[in-house]
């Protein structure tokens, strides 16, 4: 069984992003870029399934600019076998991403597609569900525990009410939550080795088969409204009387 892992190049999670003064976007020039943290968990999970002898091959795919090769190389250094960059110079929206990924899925015929539940830039949380829908295969979203068997997978999902377990027939799409695993660190020899692993670059246009663009238009970026400055109190008594004054307790 092949596993396909989809990853996205995003602004590193440690960067505090700033909206550009003209409201045209967020400042990304010279900002550190990384693999979306949820996607890094997806890579790790795929590698663990392969290492457990339940998969033969891990292919990692990304849609993004040419520079996204860096993130694919990192994934290869973690242990993925090969990589595909679907090159796009412009940001694409979820439905187009899912359509493009479907094209790769149809070529590669993976038993599992694993990807992060959301990208930490647009926070959309859509592409895995859309891919599953377009592919007409089951989905297990927000997964914090995964047990893969021959023809099925048992997935524990983090839901508002607690932990939900579902079983899906393979092939299926899994979207990862934070507690699924802790991704491994990449070692230097692996980085060297990753340079020799195959990385194909294809144009996004070649994956879309005349897909009809139904994009949303982003009109403006702005900074969130800051909260008003608060006050510091010195004692519990002072705190309690303030809370009572505001009628909160």
């Amino acid at each position: 069984m092949k596993i396909l892992v989809a990853i996205k190049r995003v602004v590193d999670y440690n960067v505090r992003v700033q909206v550009k003064p003209d409201g045209s976007g967020v400042a990304t020039d010279g900002v550190k870029m990384s693999i979306n943290p949820f996607d890094e968990i997806a890579i790790e999970e795929a590698l663990r399934i392969k290492e457990a002898g339940k998969a033969s091959e891990v292919i990692v795919v990304s849609i993004g600019p040419n520079t996204a090769q860096q993130q694919l190389r990192t994934a290869l250094a973690m242990g993925a076998d090969s990589a595909i960059l679907i090159e796009s110079d412009v940001e694409i929206q979820s439905l187009k991403a899912a359509t493009s990924l479907l094209n790769i899925v149809e070529k590669e015929q993976p038993g599992l597609v694993i990807m992060g539940k959301q990208a930490i830039d647009d926070d959309n949380n859509q592409t895995p569900q859309m891919l599953a829908t377009l592919w007409k295969r089951p989905q297990a979203t927000f997964v914090s525990k995964l047990e893969v068997n021959e023809t099925t997978a048992l997935a524990t999902r983090e839901v508002d009410a607690g932990l939900e377990t579902i079983e899906v027939t393979l092939p299926a799409v899994i979207s990862t939550d934070l507690r699924l695993n802790e991704p491994r660190f990449v070692k230097l020899p692996d980085i060297m080795k990753a340079k020799r692993k195959p990385l194909d670059i294809i144009s996004i246009a070649d994956t879309l088969n005349g897909f009809n663009d139904n994009e949303l238009s982003i009109q403006k970026y702005e900074s969130p409204q800051p909260r008003e400055k608060g006050i510091m109190v010195e004692s519990v008594d002072e705190l309690v009387s303030l809370l009572k004054e505001k009628g909160l307790v």
């Binding site: 829908t133 939900e164 507690r179 009109q219 702005e222 004692s235 809370l243």
Partner: protein
């Protein structure tokens, strides 16, 4: 003219407040006609509950086989089918809505507008990106819109005095490739974290699962729900459903009191709509004080017992 279909979430007994918040968002679209769709294997009784939501015209009650109504695969096709008569399809931005609505959008050939925090007009909305560090204004040029509603941004619409018409439907979807196995839930006697007016929340500073009892006791003392930071959940001090933040629950209680939480940006995302934020931490330099309305620097193990006595 906007016709809005809202996916109603429920637990088999009661309608989730996230549904009523989605109704509030829908009401902000001028002249909107608002209908609900609810799925259950025992749909008659839950449809009665749904029909009590004010400002709702019709409840589409879709009889759906056992457990199928909990699964995206079981219900998304029916929502997309009903959507042909609507301009908008909304769902609450809960894990339930987030799982299902993108499937509906894909079936309709649309991108979804996730986490609407403000309605500008029938086709224009604001939503947060980058964990709330930026807000974008999104316009949908298409005839139809699929969206999830960020529940912390809207008040709960009245859920008791409505009198919507109930219309019955069947759901012939007999998919069997996704199977519900079980739901493990904390089954707390405390108020629901997502909708509580008061929340007591603990972080890594609590130091252990045993010490989290301090949070539970204080919450019970003032009738609050309990929450936690990701660090506390990761450390195993409390269950995952208590996590507040970017990837946990986004909440907007009147009072949010947090103890031993430093205030990572991912956590602040989850609480920035709270009425009054109270922070108690031993490190006065913690980022939590940047958003706190009232801050007290001190040892929570001394502060909490004193609060137990004085509140």
């Amino acid at each position: 003219m906007s016709k809005i279909l809202i996916l109603a979430q429920h637990d088999g007994v009661a309608i989730n407040q996230g549904t009523a918040k989605a109704v509030t968002a829908a009401k902000q679209i001028d002249g909107a006609i608002i209908d609900l769709v609810v799925f259950s294997d025992n749909v008659d009784s839950i449809a009665v509950e749904a029909s009590k939501l004010s400002d709702v015209n019709t409840v589409h009650a879709v009889s759906t086989p056992t457990d199928q109504w909990k699964l995206a695969a079981g219900i998304a096709p029916k929502i997309a089918e009903l959507a042909s008569n609507y301009t908008h399809v909304f769902g609450p931005s809960t894990t339930f809505g987030k799982d299902i609505m993108p499937c509906v959008a894909a079936l309709m050939g649309l991108n979804q507008i996730s986490d609407i925090m403000q309605v500008i007009d029938a086709k224009t909305f604001k939503r947060p990106i980058y964990a709330g560090n930026a807000v974008i204004t999104v316009n949908a040029p298409q005839d139809k819109i699929v969206a999830t509603i960020r529940t912390a941004s809207f008040k709960t619409n009245d859920m008791t005095s409505g009198s919507a018409t109930v219309e019955n439907h069947d759901n012939n979807n007999d998919q069997n490739e996704t199977r519900f196995i079980e739901l493990q839930s904390g089954n707390s006697e405390r108020p629901d974290l997502q909708t509580a007016a008061k929340v007591i929340s603990g972080g890594r500073g609590l130091g252990s699962e045993e010490n989290f009892e301090l949070m539970y006791n204080l919450a019970d003392k003032i009738g609050a729900a309990t929450g936690a930071s990701r660090a506390a959940v990761d450390a195993g001090y409390c269950p995952n459903e208590m996590q507040v933040g970017q990837t946990g629950k986004i909440i907007a209680p009147d009072l949010y009191m947090c103890f031993g939480i430093s205030g990572a940006i991912q956590h602040l995302t989850g609480i920035k709509d709270a009425g009054t934020i109270v922070a108690i931490n031993k490190d006065g330099e913690s980022p939590i004080y940047e958003v706190a309305d009232i801050g007290l620097v001190g040892d929570l193990f001394k502060v909490v017992p004193e609060l137990m006595e004085k509140l």
